[in-house]
């Protein structure tokens, strides 16, 4: 479908403007003694689908509101398409927002809501009607233009909010947990829908969510936030496969996190984990004697009901089995450590029962040594064990 709602043409010009649509330089926000956002540098590229992921209070919405102009940073600068907008009002910025509660005007019809931005910019009536029609097509709401927001379902309201923002062809679209109020099935539908629309219009999307699955499946890049800081920024696969620390390892997906000491390194490191035994990690470049934290993803672990012939298996006992259709989750106790293991149900049903003794194994390159020292992660450990 060809749609007139597209990223403005001037965005394609010049190598200088090639750099970033959104740039934060040491931007921070304090409310009294509380840092909502600690000094932060961030660049978001043109046309990128970027997700700010974090729990409530992590600073993701503050970051969005700084970019939208609803808050002014306490320090630092914010650039949109290389223009300093640090102190510019929302109406002076080439961004539009899809609000968490949608913020539709209750006294206006769907068409009036969508056309509001054009009306304010004094776009002439006929032109406005045409573009509203196009926007309604884009979000597949044609025929509902005369309805009031109160006569719409949650999903429809969400689409109206989206159309109302997109019709102004912003350089950047900000979305603040836009699917938070929808039920799971509708969420999945709208996720696909949002991705389709983003591909069609080519506008930079900044998407705030606390749902890591949502962020992973939708975004080109993710910024994981905690306590007003960016813990890690990168593509979903990088964040998942190479978490920067224990917090990210536990927040994005589930991780089994162990503390140990490097006892030998020659291509593969042997890490002695007290109470469990030696574990192999494919990453080199660690000093012997160093204390490290390692993480293993549950789906990388193989569970063997009969004892396993290969080396370096961990012997444990199944403490719990949760059957979930496509896969089964086993909680296996090894020493004093509980391991989460996810196994696809390739044969029919679970392959081990509660109380059974099993062997666990995984490939050395599935062992993630978390960067930094153990002490950096003490807080993260608590967070991740709560998540797992």
């Amino acid at each position: 479908m060809v749609t007139p709602i597209r990223a403005p043409d001037n965005r394609a010009a010049g190598p200088e403007s090639e750099t970033a649509d959104v740039r934060l330089e040491g931007a921070s926000k304090r409310f009294g003694d509380v840092w909502a956002l600690r000094p932060t540098d961030l660049e978001i590229a043109r046309g990128e689908f970027f997700s700010l992921l974090g729990a409530s209070g992590s600073g993701k919405t503050t970051t969005l509101r700084l970019i939208g102009g609803f808050e002014e940073p306490s320090a630092g600068r914010i650039y949109l398409q290389n223009r300093d907008v640090t102190s510019a009002a929302p109406y002076d910025r080439p961004v539009n927002t899809v609000f968490q509660d949608y913020a539709l005007f209750p006294h206006m019809t769907v068409a009036e809501n969508i056309g509001y931005g054009l009306k304010v910019k004094r776009v002439e009536r006929k032109e406005r009607a045409r573009r509203v029609g196009d926007a309604l097509d884009l979000v597949r709401l044609s025929g509902l233009d005369r309805r009031r927001p109160s006569q719409l379902s949650g999903g429809q309201r969400q689409r109206v909010a989206l159309a109302r923002a997109l019709i102004n062809t912003p350089a950047v679209l900000l979305l603040d947990e836009p699917l938070g109020a929808l039920d799971l099935k509708l969420r999945r539908e709208m996720q696909l829908e949002l991705k389709r629309i983003q591909r069609e219009v080519g506008i930079t999307f900044i998407y705030v969510t606390h749902d890591q699955e949502e962020a992973m499946s939708m975004a080109d890049r993710i910024a994981v936030m905690r306590d007003g800081t960016l813990e890690q920024v990168g593509p979903p696969s990088t964040v998942y496969e190479h978490p920067a620390n224990a917090f990210v390892a536990g927040f994005v997906g589930v991780s089994n996190i162990l503390a140990g000491r490097v006892i030998a390194c020659d291509g593969v490191c042997r890490i002695e984990v007290p109470g469990i035994g030696p574990i192999l990690a494919a990453t080199a470049d660690r000093h012997v004697g160093e204390e490290v934290l390692i993480a293993v993803r549950p789906e990388k672990i193989q569970i063997h009901p009969d004892s396993w012939a290969g080396s370096h298996a961990l012997r444990g006992r199944v403490a719990d089995v949760s059957y979930a259709g496509a896969f089964t989750r086993y909680d296996v106790t090894v020493g004093d450590q509980s391991f989460a293991v996810l196994a696809q149900n390739q044969a029919a049903g679970p392959i081990a029962v509660r109380g059974e003794d099993v062997d666990l194994s995984w490939a050395p390159d599935s062992t993630i040594i978390l960067p930094g020292s153990v002490h950096d992660h003490s807080r993260g450990l608590q967070a991740s064990s709560a998540t797992a």
Binding site: G68, G69, F70, A89, P90, Y91, V95, N96, T97, F99, Q100, D101, A103, L104, F105, P106, H107, Y116, G117, K119, V120, K121, R164, A165, N168
Partner: protein
């Protein structure tokens, strides 16, 4: 504790039996709840109104009201221009007071909701507190302000704006206007404040986000959403100003408003039927006003 009914005191079982009956008969429950206020409204509000209408069709003979049907009271109202003049003057005054109340209340309510946080409730209370004091006290307060030796004159002389006290301040239509406005203003502020407070803050952000500066947001978002509150307040202020006869009596220069001429008919003129017919006039005006308000869906917003 035993819960079977045999062990319970008689009163409790009886009460439970009643409760069961009420639950079983929803109409009875409804009647019990709605009955008293309906009877009150019918007996003390609707009844007198009907009686007023009937009385306006009666006449005076030998200084006594006789229940003989006549339209004479109404023909008199419409044949002697003075009565419609009084009505017109009253409507103009009530309209001026209402419009002024809107002009004052809208920015005040908007400011309270948007730009105060810690002081909001205190300031709002300051708007409401006059309602706790007697109506008469507030009228007399204006006498001490506007009077010949009043606060305003003393102040104006003190700063050498005038050398002689201005006696025209008190006992004028202006004094009536000022007093009515001050007395009835809270009835405008309350519904307008409530309407503006109900506007979710995200709507202001959305409007700004979509390119609207402050005044356009006020025009396109605040005004339409506050409008039901404004009309509701207008109903209060307009009808209260229209029916007021004490303020013109105490503050005016003898100019008659509809309330005064009605009061006179029930007082010195002793012509109840004619007074009743006069009283029907503001009722008609208010009914028209309410009908218009209803078209805007204001009554639902109250």
């Amino acid at each position: 504790m035993a819960t079977y009914e045999g062990a319970l005191p008689r009163a409790v079982t009886a009460r439970r039996a009643v409760a069961r009956q009420v639950r079983a008969h929803r109409r009875l429950a409804l009647a019990l709840v709605l009955g008293p206020p309906l009877i009150w409204m019918a007996g003390f509000y609707l009844g007198p109104l009907v009686y007023l209408l009937l009385e306006s069709l009666w006449q005076i003979q030998n200084y006594n009201v006789v229940q003989v049907w006549t339209l004479a009271n109404y023909t008199q109202i419409f044949s002697e221009p003075v009565w419609l003049d009084v009505l017109r003057r009253t409507v103009v005054m009530a309209s001026l007071v209402t419009l002024s109340a809107i002009v004052l209340a809208l920015p005040l309510a908007y400011f309270l909701v948007r730009y105060t946080r810690r002081w909001r409730h205190l300031l709002y209370l300051a708007v409401l507190i006059p309602l706790w004091s007697s109506y008469l006290v507030r009228v007399f307060a204006w006498k001490t302000i506007l009077g010949r030796d009043g606060l305003l004159n003393t102040f104006l002389i003190g700063i050498h704006v005038v050398h002689q006290p201005i006696s025209a301040l008190l006992y004028s239509n202006t004094a009536v206007y000022i007093t009515l406005l001050q007395i009835w203003l809270p009835y405008m502020v309350i519904p307008v404040y409530a309407a503006i407070e109900r506007i979710p803050p995200s709507l202001y952000e959305a409007s700004s986000d979509l390119g609207a500066r402050g005044w356009r947001t006020i025009l396109h978002v605040v005004w339409p959403l506050a409008f039901p509150g404004i009309l509701a307040g207008s109903i209060f202020v307009f009808s209260l100003s229209m029916g007021d006869f004490i303020t013109p009596l105490l503050m005016g220069n003898g100019t008659q408003f509809i309330g005064n001429v009605i009061a006179d008919q029930f007082g010195i003129a002793y012509n109840y039927p004619f007074g009743a017919a006069l009283a029907i006039l503001p009722l008609i005006v208010l009914t028209v006003f309410l009908a218009i308000a209803r078209r805007f869906g204001v009554l639902e917003a109250l």
